[in-house]
């Protein structure tokens, strides 16, 4: 069936011009990976709150020792100032030797944060490079898998205890102890990711162009891993802080004259029955730090997945 054409004068029509250059512009879409990641991340008020909490805790713990005149190690010989309840001039009270717990809490947070940060940077740095090579160079796979099996099958606690006995207890001993086993887990994670993207067609294209291995890893592999690595770092920090507390708790942590959350918890537990606040304050701080890092890390991992960018 044919519909009759209405009577329309031809001068009403004007031929549409086709501009080839303008047609090329139509494929354009504004999308920035990092901007979308941040937008998705900041959508949740919980993430904003916890991120703010982390920022406040970190800045406060680094600024407090610079501005406060209180010495966290000053022992008072006057027994009246020992084991004072919170309030009464000392916000968190004092411990069994009259030391101000408020000051010690901030100094301790600073030590623990620093420890967690250094371990996270080392773990992620070593793990990233080792994992990229492990996944990319086929010949390394056997060797690295064996190293992984060995390191992963030594019980963590036994290994930590052994190392702190061999080396003098101290800040760097704990860094070494946690890093020797920590990097391999991240390396394996990175390796699995690399295996997934190694045989993608754009990597074959790069090989056809003769791209050397180091540039392949730098340009073709690592950019895909950045968000994962940030998340791994965010999760390593609370893990390291927790490990330090655990070592302090069993008496193998930092020397007692170093103020750290581990030492605070260790001393606090001795007096817990009589003066519970000496344990609860450092533990609450520890919980606040670790939980916010864990949740922020996981939220960021979700936000960094492009599938969640609506």
């Amino acid at each position: 069936m044919k519909r009759p054409m209405p009577d329309l004068a031809p001068e009403l029509f004007r031929p549409a011009l086709f501009d080839e250059a303008a047609a090329e512009l139509t494929g354009y879409a504004h999308y920035s990976y990092w901007r979308s990641t941040m937008r998705t991340f900041l959508k949740s008020p919980v993430s904003i709150f916890l991120l703010a909490l982390i920022v406040v805790l970190v800045t406060a713990s680094f600024i407090y020792p610079l501005v406060s005149p209180t010495d966290p190690n000053r022992v008072d010989l006057d027994t009246a100032t020992w084991n004072m309840e919170p309030g009464s001039g000392h916000a968190f009270g004092t411990d069994g030797l009259g030391r101000d717990l408020w000051a010690r809490a901030w100094y301790g947070t600073r030590t623990s944060m620093l420890l967690g940060l250094i371990i996270a940077i080392l773990d992620v740095g070593i793990g990233m490079i080792a994992g990229a090579l492990w996944g990319y160079v086929k010949r390394l796979d056997r060797v690295m898998t064996e190293i992984y099996n060995v390191l992963n099958n030594i019980p963590q606690t036994v290994f930590l205890i052994l190392l702190t006995y061999i080396m003098r207890p101290g800040f760097w001993t704990i860094v070494v102890a946690l890093c020797t086993t920590g990097w391999i887990g991240i390396a394996r994670f990175v390796r699995n990711k690399v295996l997934m993207i190694r045989d993608a067609e754009y990597n074959i294209a790069s090989r056809c162009l003769g791209t050397p291995l180091h540039r392949m890893i730098l340009k073709n592999v690592l950019p895909y891993l950045v968000s994962i690595l940030i998340m791994e770092a965010a999760l390593t920090i609370p893990y390291s802080i927790g490990s330090e507390v655990f070592l302090g708790f069993i008496g193998l942590g930092l020397p007692l004259d170093t103020v750290s959350l581990g030492n605070l918890v260790n001393l606090g537990k001795n007096n817990f029955m009589l003066y519970p606040y000496q344990l609860t304050w450092p533990t609450l701080l520890l919980a606040a730090i670790t939980i916010s890092f864990y949740i922020v890390g996981n939220r960021f991992a979700d936000a960094s997945d492009p599938r969640n960018h609506v």
Binding site: E201, Y202, L209
Partner: protein, 306 residues
């Protein structure tokens, strides 16, 4: 081997490890590419046509035979200068434009990747100029250099892939199903571009495809591959006019015809390898008429010649 042979593949075999056993993907394939022609490899999925292309690019190690580029061996162990020659003068275009561009790199880097690898520019200005020219050559706007691949359509992305290969100024382009992943509406865009580039620059194409209607349109010669072995090789029109091998006939019968009346009457042929009786006389690669080669035993060849 005549003077105008640019690439020569001799008895090529490629095997992949499959647990303890080895899987033979390509077995005894030989052909010559003449300078300036479009040579197509057609066959079904898994027949080994992509593997041949990648073996030439040294992505897959070869187990048998050799590959010569302008008379120089470019397969097996070769020195750095031969590798350099190969990487600059043979380039590849890929099947899936969505997968073949690095999503986290700007077009500027993607196109100049090969230039960086071989330091093919004196200074930053020359590199920019080369990238700009490569983008213009494939009909894209130079401003696109600062954008990311996801901002482009499939046809544009495929042209970016072609620009990446062109910037090396290759003589031979291996096109691995360059249009199979594209919409029908933009296939002609890419095919016409490839034809224009061939004309302007005297390129030689090794065109790998399964779509015979497209292959007929662009090829000078066609080789049909079945389970890793060539079964027939002839000029494009000759192959379509006189297909001899039963597999080629089956393949040609699968080409859709635009006339529904004819299409309805068409009989589809399925290829069954058991129709060959190779108990007497192994099949061999024989020339039936000038430039028309078929794989068959003496008895079959006699029948085809008649």
């Amino acid at each position: 081997m005549s003077d105008d042979t640019i690439l020569s593949v001799r008895g090529l075999g490629v095997e992949f490890p499959m647990g303890r056993k080895r899987f033979t993907a390509v077995d005894g394939v030989s052909f010559d590419l003449r300078r300036g022609e479009t040579f197509s490899l057609v066959g079904e999925s898994g027949s080994g046509k992509t593997t041949i292309g990648r073996a030439i690019m040294r992505i897959h190690p070869i187990s048998k035979g050799e590959i010569l580029f302008e008379g120089k061996r470019v397969s097996g162990r070769i020195d750095a200068s031969a590798e350099r020659l190969l990487r600059q003068r043979i380039q590849m275009i890929f099947q899936d434009p969505m997968a073949s561009l690095n999503e986290r790199a700007k077009i500027d880097y993607i196109v100049s990747e090969g230039l960086y690898n071989f330091r093919l520019f004196k200074d930053e200005a020359e590199r920019r100029a080369k990238v700009e020219k490569a983008l213009r050559d494939v009909g894209l706007i130079p401003e696109f250099a600062s954008r990311f691949p996801h901002e482009f359509s499939g046809g544009q992305r495929q042209r970016i892939g072609i620009a990446r290969a062109l910037v090396m100024e290759p003589e031979l382009l291996i096109a691995d199903e360059p249009i199979s992943a594209l919409d029908v509406s933009i296939r002609s865009q890419v095919i016409n571009l490839m034809n224009r580039l061939k004309r302007d620059r005297g390129l030689t194409y090794l065109f790998i495809a399964h779509d015979l209607s497209v292959v007929r349109f662009i090829s000078d010669r066609i080789a049909v591959i079945y389970r890793g072995r060539l079964v027939e090789l002839a000029g494009a029109e000759e192959l379509f006019a006189h297909p001899l091998h039963p597999y080629t006939r089956a393949l040609l019968s699968a080409v859709p015809l635009p006339d529904p009346e004819v299409e309805r009457l068409k009989k589809h042929v399925a290829y069954d390898p058991s129709i060959h009786d190779y108990s007497q006389g192994k099949p061999s690669w024989s020339e039936v008429s000038s430039g028309h080669f078929v794989l068959g035993n003496e008895c079959e060849i006699r029948g085809w010649k008649a």
